[in-house]
Symmetry: D2
Subunit: 91 residues, 4 copies
């Protein structure tokens, strides 16, 4: 069976995101102004979106392409259903 | 000067989010399937949105209300500009 | 009773949006490429968001401000609940 | 050259959306309450998203699949770039 693609180049971003979440906790603790906390949370979500895009692009280049080339209708349908499910939650 | 509202009831959620981000790092490390990682990232963003809403609601109930009651046109305009800026980034 | 604010300065944008929706129908009719149709739909949604923001800003400057100045806790709570409901659907 | 897929099953939805946009114009004309107008605009955007998803799903099932099966690296890369561009604007 084929291995899943390697996304380890997102690890440093994910560690930075972990640090940002700690930063939000600190802002809450120090009773910072609501809008500043909200902007920091928006920054965390933006950073997560960047990671999402990188993983999704690699998913297309590996898993989706392999399934579509496999000529297996089931594999192709399954990949499309997974992606549509992902997109449906976001559009 | 008035103090900023207390959002410390979001701290346990923020600690859980920190743990979820670590979980995503683990999934990347263990080469889990792309779609599963993406769904976990979506869960983190959803949890952050819940925190955002709680902070925003309190911001309305305290900061915005105070500014609007203050009869100061500058304070009111400033609060509206801040909120519109926040919303503009999200709509 | 106070009148609702006037949003008639959004009418020309709304008429343009109506035209854009007709344009999308034409693209579908003429079997244009999927991605081009999708980009046009995204443009319509973007134009609707611009109208939304203008109406929302005026809503803050009139309805929300009036309710908050009224010192009526019920009126204020109602406005905040309405806005949070609106934001909850969008964040 | 292959024809683009047929999306004419979205036409009735697109005509309904055109009618909804006219409805929003009428609400603005009749000075309806801001929140009611905003909810109606949100409904239009939701209806557009439903059309988007249907077109996007067909795009995967036809254009993306064909490109990926074609074994042409350029065609595949182009399709992935198009989809990522579409998703980048939305995530």
């Amino acid at each position: 069976m084929k291995q899943n693609p390697d996304h380890s180049d997102t690890l440093s971003a994910l560690r930075r995101i972990e640090g940002q979440v700690c930063g939000v906790q600190r802002m809450v603790d120090e009773k910072k102004y609501c809008i500043d906390i909200l902007n920091q949370i928006a920054a965390v979500k933006g950073a997560l979106s960047t990671v999402e895009k990188r993983i999704l692009e690699r998913h297309f280049q590996h898993c989706v392409k392999d399934a579509m080339k496999s000529e297996s209708e089931t594999a192709t349908s399954e990949k499309i259903a997974e992606i549509m499910d992902l997109i449906n939650k976001r559009i």
